[in-house]
């Protein structure tokens, strides 16, 4: 029989991973208030790279918010991702300055070559393609971030070469 009693016991950490201690610290600092949800999700994503179901369940239980609300928040904001990123990430800036200077062509290049859309990862888990709304490097438009390294004035051929090197383990 399913118990209908409300469970007031302390939520159980999903696994032994030490990184949950960092998450706990954030929640403690903000007094386990429901309003700490976004800050906590930031911490989870920073520690683990993405938000998975176990993590969302744990945070929801700890902050006393329904799982639907955590899921709602996690999917509302672009910054949160529910899937792990690929081995390499390629972020193409699609801010106005970059768009005017040809970011759409860069995007099309990757989409054509690898068959993935922004936000997706290749089947082999090698590369994630992302877009950014503006990197603030408008002077270097169009800008691309290869694994946290900003590169400016990128042409479709440069992009192709860089990705090819990743794919063949040259970088």
């Amino acid at each position: 029989m399913v118990s209908l009693a409300i469970d007031f016991s302390k939520p159980v950490v999903p696994n032994e991973d030490k990184r949950w201690k960092i998450v706990d610290a954030t929640m403690r600092r903000l007094g386990h208030q429901p309003r700490a949800l976004i800050e906590t999700l930031h911490t989870v994503q920073e520690a683990f790279g993405y938000l998975d179901e176990d993590g969302l369940r744990y945070v929801s239980a700890s902050l006393h918010v329904p799982l639907s609300r955590s899921y709602g928040v996690a999917t509302f904001y672009h910054f949160f991702t529910l899937k792990p990123a690929g081995e390499h990430t390629c972020v193409i800036c699609t801010g106005t300055a970059c768009y005017i200077k040809g970011a759409a062509q860069l995007l099309a290049t990757v989409q054509q070559d690898l068959g993935i859309s922004p936000g997706e990862t290749t089947v082999d888990g090698k590369l994630s393609l992302l877009t950014a709304r503006c990197l603030g490097s408008c002077g270097l438009a169009p800008a691309v971030v290869y694994d946290h390294q900003v590169s400016g004035k990128v042409l479709p051929n440069n992009l192709r070469e860089h990705i090819a090197k990743w794919m063949t383990h040259e970088l």
């Binding site: 904001y77 300055a97 490097s137 002077g139």
Partner: protein, 545 residues
């Protein structure tokens, strides 16, 4: 902390800096960092050490110097500016301190890019080390706050801001003094002051630059505002995409607390103000104040109907003051020099200066601060250095996805809140994108509509469905499958969105379409009737090499 102690810090800092005969400033703001300015700084540091000049030459990482397209920028002894400096140039730069300048890297500072600017918000940017409070204090920092706390009542502070004529720099241009007095008049146990640093507008990076180059200025403005309206808690809502700005703000908050300029009993008075950071998570709609408040409360960033305005019922249902980064950054100089001084700059209804992120098809891209009332032509052709490759200017886009495209015939129009709205655009937060004849205006309208469509929060139907439908119509037209009825449908939908959407995002989403229809209607018709795109952007799906 009192006025004497503050002077002492400034004096010590000046003494300290006088010990060095030479100074090299390296820009370590976002733009230059992305072209390896940190490596340049490290190289200069090691060259200085190699020559045993550590006690003679100081190298400092500073904020944005403005001319981002020529980065990394390095200035030597505050008079020479070097551009496109590579780590290999470090040795020559250090050697040049005692000899002739390195002419191959020299950047002229007498060009209009520098001469036509007037720096108030950015006065310290590029001169001080953003990670040291002492440097800010030496540049008259926090003297405004001390003055406010020791000599002025909250009412007098508000009067000074009213006198300055400062208007909100976030986009709408609401008079700042009026907003402050509304919050001040509200009776409540708790009040909040919030700094909106959720710069979501694509193609705008002013707030980021200010936060990265001079975080204490924003903090000081916020503390003064909190004193004026009676707030005891504050939040800076900053984009998680700006890790450097977050790091520098955290440092700044810690330093200010250590000196007793922030926290409990500020400067020995009974005034308390605590500031914390809240990270945005990439939602454009969170720039809207009620959505921003929802986000700080840990919820989805959806706006609600106003009134009640946040000034009456904001965060946690309490009166809340929300100002943009640049607005707060204007406060310390207003207090220091007086509202009347500020009111002398600019036009009759738009006072002071405005920081623009100049980008797109223009020679000098970067961060510029110009007095209100300057003409667009001066910004594009003098400050911006004109259009590269001998092309023709077509339009200037201001205000991002909420603004419009201003055609070249209005280039001689003064830049102020009223003139911009008269031609169907807005001041916006300060993104200014220059377009030449290689840009198709229908495609640009589609780009902004795509942005609004994906950023619509989905709460109200006109915005959620309207932006999607308008985007579909624009997609049809740019794919050369449009009919002339599509253009009138666009106009009709634009009207619905403008008048029935819940918040500013939906209400202003049609602006880019309306302004391009108004001034570049011919291009729309060419797409529909002749199936041709004069700029050669639309129609072809293949990728150009």
């Amino acid at each position: 902390m009192n006025s004497e102690e503050l002077d002492q810090i400034a004096e010590n800092e000046n003494e300290e800096q006088k010990k060095f005969a030479h100074r090299i400033n390296v820009c370590v703001a976002a733009g230059c960092l992305s072209c390896q300015s940190q490596e340049v700084k490290d190289a200069i540091d090691s060259e200085v050490k190699k020559r045993g000049l550590e006690h003679e030459c100081q190298t400092k990482g500073v904020g944005c110097m403005g001319l981002c397209s020529e980065g990394p920028l390095v200035s030597a002894d505050a008079k020479l500016l070097y551009r496109r400096v590579a780590p290999d140039d470090a040795g020559d730069l250090v050697d040049s301190l005692k000899g002739a300048p390195v002419s191959r890297l020299l950047c002229r500072t007498d060009q209009p890019f520098f001469q036509k600017q007037k720096k108030i918000v950015l006065e310290n940017s590029g001169n001080i080390d953003p990670e040291r409070i002492e440097d800010y204090v030496a540049a008259h920092g926090y003297s405004g706050l001390i003055r406010v706390l020791s000599e002025m009542t909250p009412l007098q502070v508000i009067e000074e801001v009213v006198k300055s004529g400062l208007r909100g720099r976030g986009g709408a241009g609401y008079p700042t003094g009026l907003k402050w007095s509304t919050v001040a008049k509200a009776v409540a146990r708790n009040k909040y002051a919030i700094c909106n640093a959720d710069e979501g507008d694509p193609g705008a990076f002013m707030d980021r630059s200010v936060l990265e180059s001079d975080p204490h200025r924003v903090l000081e403005g916020m503390i003064i505002a909190a004193y004026a309206v009676g707030a005891s808690e504050g939040y800076i809502y900053v984009r998680a995409e700006y890790p450097l700005a977050i790091k520098r703000l955290k440092t700044a908050i810690r330093q200010a607390e250590r000196l007793g300029l922030l926290g409990g009993n500020i400067c020995g008075t009974r005034f308390n103000f605590h500031v914390d950071l809240r990270l945005g998570a990439g939602a454009f709609v969170c720039g809207e104040e009620t959505a921003l408040i929802a986000s700080i409360e840990g919820k989805r960033g959806t706006p609600r109907a106003r009134p009640p305005y946040p000034a009456q019922e904001g965060l946690n249902g309490q009166p809340t003051l929300i100002n943009n980064v640049e607005t707060y950054a204007n406060i310390p100089p207003i207090i220091r020099n007086g509202g009347a001084w500020y009111a002398k700059i600019g036009t009759e209804k738009s006072k002071g200066t405005k920081v623009f992120a100049l980008a797109g098809r223009v020679q000098n891209t970067g961060l510029v601060e110009v007095p209100m009332g300057i003409t667009l032509r001066e910004i594009v052709f003098d400050v911006g250095g004109g259009i590269p490759e001998g092309r023709q200017i077509k339009a200037v886009q201001t205000g991002g996805p909420s603004g419009g495209c201003i055609p070249s015939e209005f280039l001689d129009m003064p830049v102020d809140y009223e003139s911009l709205s008269k031609v169907g655009s807005i001041m916006g937060s300060g993104g200014m994108i220059v377009m030449d004849d290689s840009s198709c205006m229908v495609d640009v309208a589609k780009y902004f509509m795509d942005f609004c469509m994906s950023e619509s929060c989905g709460k109200c139907i006109p915005c959620r469905v309207g932006t999607y439908q308008m985007h579909e119509l624009l997609k049809n037209i740019t794919n050369m499958q449009g009919a002339s009825a599509d253009i009138s449908k666009l106009e009709e939908l634009a009207d619905v969105l403008k008048n029935t959407s819940l918040c500013g995002l939906g209400q202003s989403a049609p602006n880019p379409v309306l302004s391009t229809l108004r001034y570049f209607g011919g291009e729309y018709r060419a797409h529909v009737d002749k199936r041709s795109c004069t700029a050669g952007v639309c129609g072809s799906q293949e990728v150009k090499p």
